[in-house]
């Protein structure tokens, strides 16, 4: 079996990976649907129905992610970058909607959406990695408040601008590091054409961490460690999640350019960054008094915003990218 997989070309290997993942997801979906039907027949109490809805939501997110990554891989690097640029666009739209911008910010917003975002992703696709890592933290850091100050409105100036810059850092800068992984090249390891595995590795590890954390939270029903920020977050369940993600990372060593201890370290870094980033975004939502970044009034129906689904990735991607790049001397 192993020998057979090794003999396939890089793209056949990636294809096989996606077939496996789609198959597993399909099985999980069928199982959840059957369970839901069963619980409806027996007319169980509300908690069971609530759990089923939770599961469906998690499955929905997983399907969404996998389809996105399959599309990203299948359509090539340029299309993949465009896809992530679109995700960044919609995520930033959600973020800005809940930030208190004023009329004087209009020019900075135009700058953020129609200049900064396209340039950042263009830098990825043209492999200007040195500029790509400093463009937003150095140049845009000044450009945004300058555009804002020219609007001539000093009221809550720092608050408005820092929120806008935060949104750009999370949604644009963070998200742009996911397609950047597709372009990494490793000097001492023949990994050409298999970078999609690296993206897959990071995403699956982070998602597993979040999923296990979620499931353990439901099972153990531990009191929240930070009740002011999240009604579900608990350090012990968080530990389980990070551990599960890291173990999976070791098991997936064969699809990465890493050795097992390196895979463990990379997975650990991605999991910690992703799950804590998700927690940080929860604090922002609490502050705004909402449960989701999506359309207002939708939170009761259980539908989520895009940013709720991708925020862990936005925080994990830059840290994962740079850790890998520096450890392996990888270049563009």
């Amino acid at each position: 079996m192993n020998q057979f997989l090794r003999n396939l070309t890089a793209s056949q290997q990636v294809g096989a990976l996606f077939i496996t993942v789609f198959g597993l997801l399909a099985l999980a979906t069928v199982a959840v649907v059957l369970l839901t039907v069963h619980s409806q027949e027996t007319q169980d109490d509300g908690t069971r129905a609530e759990q089923a809805r939770d599961w469906r939501q998690l499955l929905g997110t997983s399907w969404f992610m996998v389809v996105i990554f399959w599309l990203a891989w299948a359509t090539g690097e340029a299309m993949a970058t465009l896809l992530f640029a679109l995700i960044a666009f919609f995520a930033l739209r959600e973020f800005i909607t809940l930030s208190p911008t004023r009329r004087g910010d209009h020019r900075s917003l135009v700058l953020a959406f129609f200049v900064v975002l396209p340039i950042q992703f263009l830098l990825v696709v043209t492999r200007h990695f040195d500029l790509f890592t400093v463009f937003i933290p150095v140049y845009v850091f000044l450009a945004i408040p300058v555009a804002s100050v020219l609007g001539g409105d000093p009221q809550r100036f720092l608050e408005r601008n820092s929120k806008l810059q935060w949104g750009i850092m999370v949604c644009v800068y963070g998200m742009s590091h996911v397609p950047a992984l597709l372009l990494l090249q490793f000097p001492r390891f023949n990994y050409e054409g298999k970078q999609a595995f690296l993206v897959f590795f990071m995403v699956i590890v982070v998602q597993t961490c979040m999923l296990v954390q979620h499931v353990v939270t439901q099972r153990l029903k531990l009191p929240p460690s930070l009740p002011g920020i999240s009604s579900s977050f608990n350090w012990r369940t968080w530990g389980w999640g990070v551990m599960a993600g890291s173990v999976l990372g070791v098991l997936l060593t064969f699809i990465t350019p890493f050795k097992p201890p390196q895979a463990l370290a990379a997975a650990l870094i991605a999991c910690i960054a992703g799950s804590l980033g998700h927690l940080v975004m929860k604090a922002l939502k609490r502050d705004r008094g909402v449960t989701t970044w999506g359309h207002r009034g939708r939170s009761t129906t259980g539908a989520n915003g895009l940013l709720d689904r991708v925020d862990a990735l936005c925080f994990a991607a830059p840290i994962f990218f740079h850790s890998v790049r520096w450890t392996f001397g990888a270049s563009a």
Binding site: F89, L92, R93, E94, I96, L109, F113, G297
Partner: protein, 210 residues
């Protein structure tokens, strides 16, 4: 404007505009007080931006969009041939004069549209507001309500659109917007003009926080 291409061009432009508005704002409709029914209605909403007209048009479902005509200020929307073409061919707008001319009845085009059985979208403030609260409503809504007692009056709150395109700006930015439709308002048998207009305005403002 009368070239044989224009119906197709108008359809294409309408489709493009709809996708564009959805991309920028999400164009979410929230039907709180009434379902989206194909009965004859007057939708009346707060007015903060010229994009209000496009927003509420985009938020309506396809079937209602075809039978609903927004009311557009003649002085702004007839200024250039492009604006006029968009409002006529795409939105099928009813034009009104914001400044009363000698001897003319500014409501006449609206009455003609209502007599034909169309629904209309009205901004009773008459002009774009600058503050958080809508300005006092002008009397047109009351007049139409007395002359067309069978037409259902639906209040609507357009949220966030002034952030997408504030007064004086030309480039819109992407921000999620929504249109909330409330429970219909009825004119009581012997209700005074001012009392009714204030009640209608309060019904619009009440939708801001639901």
């Amino acid at each position: 404007m009368n070239s044989p291409l224009s119906p197709w061009a108008a359809k294409a432009l309408g489709w493009f505009l709809l996708q564009f508005v959805r991309l920028l704002t999400g164009a979410q409709a929230r039907w709180y007080g009434c379902p989206p029914l194909a009965e004859q209605r007057i939708y009346f909403a707060n007015h903060q931006s010229h994009a209000d007209l496009v927003m509420i048009w985009a938020a309506l479902p396809q079937e209602l969009r075809a039978i609903t005509r927004p009311v557009a200020a003649r002085d702004y929307w007839m200024k250039t041939p492009l604006r006029q073409w968009i409002t006529t061919a795409v939105f099928n707008a009813v034009y009104v004069d914001r400044e009363r001319k000698e001897g003319g009845d500014p409501l006449q085009p609206l009455e003609e549209a209502l007599e034909r059985g169309d629904s209309i979208i009205l901004f009773p403030e008459g002009t774009r507001g600058d503050g958080d609260e809508p300005q006092a409503f002008k009397s047109g809504l009351y007049t139409l309500a007395t002359r067309f007692p069978d037409v259902v009056l639906v209040p609507a709150w357009i949220d966030n659109i002034q952030r997408v395109m504030p007064k004086g700006e030309v480039v819109p930015v992407p921000i999620l917007c929504s249109v909330t439709f409330g429970a219909p308002v009825r004119l009581a048998p012997d209700e005074e003009r001012r009392a009714f207009l204030d009640r209608a305005r309060a019904a619009v403002i009440a939708l801001r926080d639901v």
